[in-house]
Point group: C2
Chain length 431, copies 2
Amino acid sequence: MTQQMNVGLLGLGTVGTGVLEIIEQHQDKLAHQIGARVEVQKILVSTLDKDRGEHIDRAKLTDRVEDILTDDSIDVIVEVMGGIEEARNYIHKALEHGKHVVTANKDVMALYGSELLQLANEKKCDLFYEASVAGGIPILRTIVEGLASDRITKIMGIVNGTTNYILTQMSKEGRIYEEVLKEAQALGYAEADPTSDVEGLDAARKIAILGTLGFSMRLDLDDVSVQGISNVTSQDLAYGDQLGYTMKLVGIANRDGDKVEVSVQPTLVPHSHPLASVDDEFNAVYVYGEAVGETMFYGPGAGKLPTATAVVSDLVEVLKNKRLGVNGNSAVIPQFEKLLKTDDEIRSKYFLRIHAKDIPGTFAILTALFHEHHISLEKILQVPLNEGKLAEIIVVTHEVTKLDYAAVIDRLNEEDVVVEIKSSYRAEGDN
Amino acid sequence: MTQQMNVGLLGLGTVGTGVLEIIEQHQDKLAHQIGARVEVQKILVSTLDKDRGEHIDRAKLTDRVEDILTDDSIDVIVEVMGGIEEARNYIHKALEHGKHVVTANKDVMALYGSELLQLANEKKCDLFYEASVAGGIPILRTIVEGLASDRITKIMGIVNGTTNYILTQMSKEGRIYEEVLKEAQALGYAEADPTSDVEGLDAARKIAILGTLGFSMRLDLDDVSVQGISNVTSQDLAYGDQLGYTMKLVGIANRDGDKVEVSVQPTLVPHSHPLASVDDEFNAVYVYGEAVGETMFYGPGAGKLPTATAVVSDLVEVLKNKRLGVNGNSAVIPQFEKLLKTDDEIRSKYFLRIHAKDIPGTFAILTALFHEHHISLEKILQVPLNEGKLAEIIVVTHEVTKLDYAAVIDRLNEEDVVVEIKSSYRAEGDN
């Protein structure tokens, strides 16, 4: 047990500090698993003279990435600096130098994952990124290893804690979106500019990563159809609840045969679905495999220690592989050609809420329209509004194609009895 | 890719057939992962001339275990025959012959796991048993690998599908225990002799295995305090529901400092707890780690393909290790000395339902008794019964020691105003 393995850490923010702490506090446990001591040898920071407290060995700090990339004693680079272009550049260079990489960077992996994994493969290097999706849940490893002899056909993920917190508050307390968002910002759950979270972009990056792994098919961010939660109203949630659904921002990747669909949108899931009870800032990833059936993995999606723990788990794998001389075998290069479903192949249920004139024959006109577009209805709720002048009509359809649904929405918009289409959401079945 | 790795299969029942099917149907995928072909070379069956359909190669069948154990071309033994003594004996012999073992046998692992893991360690053999706990959930691997740099302090598992199905039916449909059990037997969800399931023994075996791994401490079946569900009434469930709880049969392993407690009992978990919404025959294991916080893994607990999938996942690991020349490193030998909490150290909330005389002063007598035993109450519900002659009193305590709680129960039994203690259950907090 005299061997020592050296790590270069890029970034010493919240996660970087957590990684340092875990490595220091679990020295013996890590050595027991790996058969070698782990030492963080050098740390890249942007400002050398910042006060970082007593416990950081200042001699390890550097503001020149080359000090780390060209240090032959360093086996693995851990990238926890965040950002996109610079991080991508450093990961690229690290792999070029034959160093293994662990990253927590979902942005880089969603945008440049394929290119970097390809390079890692060529260089026989490991590139692990468990922490990039739902930090507290070992979901990537589970998909790759645990379900190794299965065929995954569906992944549904609540993979953004901020939006799940907002929707939970709106749904449980009947509060309005703007108010909850402000509170979340005050509490530090949401960024000052919340766009990436509330418009679904963060979740889109993660479902692209999950879909790529689960289906072994290169899925880019551009392949993900994205809709955020900023237009969701408490009324939508209340009506959804009445019809047996809970609203969640769900990243969905599903496949039929060789073709896949990847999307993120506010989705109504039945109360009985395991995702329905994932509340507050928690994340969960639901995976359907042909052999295993339904499984779900639940945990914190972010946070210093969950994310740092995922990073250290990856680091342990890389170091074990290094000792075994098998690095680079685990870099999973997509095997299948990308085949995206077209709108006439994407099937789903929908929740639709419209305001219509409350006159005789309105509902007959609407049902005729649905029928014309091959859409049958599973649930219908009608409520009088404005002293009977308007009718609030909520329907949940059976499964229809995205194409047919879009067509019926166009027709409803033209239809005279329809005053306004208030909202429209995807809805999921019982599994 | 010309190398071939040979497997000896012990047992060709439901799971064995599933293992065969998965290996045959995923030949390419397995070869891609392992770098070698996997072939089931020999299969131990009890009756050679039974009709098994066209797809089984009869030349592979044998009724003599020695044919398999002494075959030098066989690398790994997969034990899916069930039973206890014979299976233990064969696993023992296989390890003695230097063969790696994958088993789905929770009984053998709960009773003889320590001895067999010790032997595997000596022989530098792998002994994997993912399928022995919650077949469809890769929970053992997750505990060992995913949470490698964490310290687990609590494991709570719904690890028996039969009892979870029964409790779900009782709770959601208000049906009585005997009726649901009969139905479950008719549907094949419960055995003709349901004792092992409904009395909590099956769950006890699994929580012993989970606790042993999670705490790295040898926990035997005898260390588990066990209570089954056969006395649970729909009334208990209804009152629990009213107070915000769902009843589940929960295996609990927790540790404070160096001391642990392992138990299985019907437990009231708050509606907001992730375990509360695990319904029907599904299993889930909730793990609390100091770094990661709350995580939960949900999936099918049994079934041909989920169990077979877990077996094949283990098999893949063993074969990869074999190719890497690192078998035997993963056999996890408990590191810590067993230290069980005594009754004055085991702390929990309790739900208590009693019938008392509805006379002035009754409640004052009861509260004085609780107070005397250092028990404070979190929730109280009182309902008049029998036209006011009796009072049904339900309380949920704050956390108390098992010792104090047992003492107050003794005193309540002697107390004149108490007509009957109807039921008493453990209750859990919000996490």
